[in-house]
């Protein structure tokens, strides 16, 4: 397991750092420009976007590295089993997601601080930034939980269509009926939050459901991967 962890880390460390800089250069200035009013939401939005993009990028990069140069086949000749390969990948992505969310949180707070200094006074919004970044990470991981059994079954090259789904969903949110349904769902969440007096129970349920989905997905992926030939 440690060998696979190390190999995965080697696969993504350079590109992740490179992508981090790209995010810093592109996302944050755009968000800062859009939020001319300089609200706390600007930093939260930037941190959330950064986290979601980085987590997706980590996944794509890792599965892409598996297929580049037959590493996925070579890896199975080490003293590991297919089950261990799947479990390691799920654990690695979950940890990476949490680490990226921590960076996203810090980046979101920094954006707020920057806006406060250069544009107009605003709160650092630490709790909001944590919620935004970790919420994004959880949603990204939950989405991965849906697609990873298929990716393990056929490989990332054949499963690449699944990664266009989030973008299609984003576009769908702008379609009238879908927007109405989404708006209704958010309204009901806000009413629930008002009833409970705190968003924490809602977040807790979302995290628990996502975690259950992620673990279930891992067990399904073990089965799909075990049947695969290289």
């Amino acid at each position: 397991m440690r060998a696979l962890f190390y190999a995965d880390w080697c696969c993504i460390r350079n590109t992740l750092v490179r992508y981090l800089w790209v995010c810093l250069i592109i996302i944050f200035p755009i968000v800062a420009m859009i939020s001319a009013g300089a609200t706390t939401g600007a930093g939260v939005m930037a941190g959330s976007m950064f986290t979601a993009m980085m987590v997706f990028y980590a996944m794509l990069n890792l599965f892409g590295s598996d297929e580049a140069g037959d590493w996925e086949q070579m890896r199975l000749t080490l003293p590991v089993t297919p089950r261990l390969v799947v479990r390691e990948r799920y654990a690695f992505l979950a940890l990476t997601g949490m680490a990226i969310a921590a960076i996203g949180t810090a980046a979101g707070v920094l954006v707020n601080v920057g806006l406060s200094i250069f544009v107009a006074p605003t709160a650092p919004g630490v709790l909001e930034a944590i919620g935004g970044a970790y919420g994004s990470a959880v949603i990204a991981l939950a989405y991965m939980a849906l697609v990873m059994p298929y990716v393990f079954k056929v490989g990332i090259a054949k499963a690449r269509i699944t990664f266009s789904m989030p973008f299609i969903l984003c576009l769908l949110f702008n379609v009238g009926p879908v927007r109405e349904v989404t708006r209704g769902f958010i309204d009901s969440l806000e009413r629930l939050e008002a009833t409970l007096g705190s968003p924490v129970p809602i977040f807790a349920v979302i995290i628990l459901v996502s975690a259950a989905l992620y673990v279930s997905s891992m067990f399904i992926a073990e089965r799909t991967y075990a049947r695969r030939d290289f």
């Binding site: 080697c10 000749t77 003293p79 089993t81 261990l84």
Partner: protein, 310 residues
């Protein structure tokens, strides 16, 4: 094990200990069928696996390594049937097996140092000192330590694989065309390394190669696969004893009517035939007037694949 030609020698190991036994292995793909193939890799020996492209060598190796699912048969590693082992037991057994691929199959972003560290974490008996000694002797270290896999040449990549695998403490190596695409100097270095490794004792190698001269210098046994079937499995001495008789039509007919090499494949040329002879000494005794040259592994391969028995 029986071969397609009754006159050809077959391998009789007489109960010698085997690190790897392939028992009636079968695998079907669309348009290709491997096996059933049975093959033994005796301890302290090098078995060369030869055959045309697409004959089934790599499929057989994948079956041995467990990267494909077999449709039939089983693999015995160090006396244990791998299909009956638990995950933990199988992983533990794989600590004694090293695989060398035809191409460098590590993630391209890894450096030489990273690859060695991965092996160190994967194989509990990995010797860092041995890796450094081997890598230094092959001029991989210290200059290329920080070089990425992507930037390694074919030869450097193979040296990296070898240095890693030989430092794992493995006692069985499975090598899929390790010398393909290497220049003669690096190829000789690789073969030297393998010969030195074998001197340690209690080790064995299954190696496939198109470069049959490598195998004639290294292998103790040869297994020839054609169209998914094992058509020859014998000692290298048996191949050394083989010959190619150059015969005219009447001479071939005379041999066909006789008792020596009568059922062996012959390849027709414009004015003559080349006949594969399992024992050229016996053939020369039986037919002293016929020309019979020693057969190379290439000759044996070509005659077994393209020759006809009529």
């Amino acid at each position: 094990m029986t071969t397609a030609f009754a006159s050809l020698p077959s391998l009789d190991l007489q109960g010698a200990p085997c690190d790897l036994r392939v028992v009636d292995v079968q695998k079907h793909y669309d348009g290709f069928r491997l096996g059933p193939v049975s093959l033994d890799i005796p301890r302290d020996s090098v078995v060369g696996l030869i055959g045309q492209n697409g004959a089934g060598k790599t499929t057989l190796m994948k079956g041995i390594l467990g990267t494909i699912h077999l449709d039939g048969g089983n693999i015995e590693l160090f006396g244990q049937n791998t299909s009956t082992l638990t995950d933990v037991a199988l992983a533990s057994l794989k600590e004694r097996v090293g695989f060398v691929s035809a191409v460098t199959s590590y993630p391209v972003n890894m450096t030489v140092r990273d690859v060695a560290r991965t092996y160190e974490l994967a194989f509990p008996r990995f010797s860092r000192a041995e890796f450094e000694r081997l890598a230094t002797s092959m001029e991989l270290l210290p200059s290329a330590a920080g070089k990425r896999v992507h930037d390694l040449s074919r030869g450097m990549g193979m040296k990296l694989q070898l240095a890693c695998v030989l430092a794992t403490g493995a006692s069985l190596l499975i090598m899929d065309e390790p010398t393909a695409g290497l220049d003669p100097i690096v190829r000789e270095e690789v073969l030297d390394l393998l010969r030195t490794w074998m001197e340690g004792g209690n080790k064995s190698i299954l190696i496939s190669s198109h470069i049959t001269s490598d195998l004639s210098n290294l292998a103790d046994y040869l297994a020839f696969i054609d169209d998914g079937q094992l058509v020859l499995n014998c000692g290298r001495d048996d191949v050394d004893a083989m010959g190619v008789a150059h015969l005219r039509t009447a001479e071939l007919q005379a041999v066909r009517a006789g008792r020596v090499a009568h059922d062996m494949p012959a390849l027709r040329h414009d004015l003559s035939y080349d006949l594969l002879v399992p024992d050229r000494t016996a053939f020369s005794r039986a037919y002293p007037d016929y020309v019979c040259d020693p057969a190379s592994i290439d000759d044996v391969m070509v005659l077994l694949v393209k020759g006809e028995v009529r």
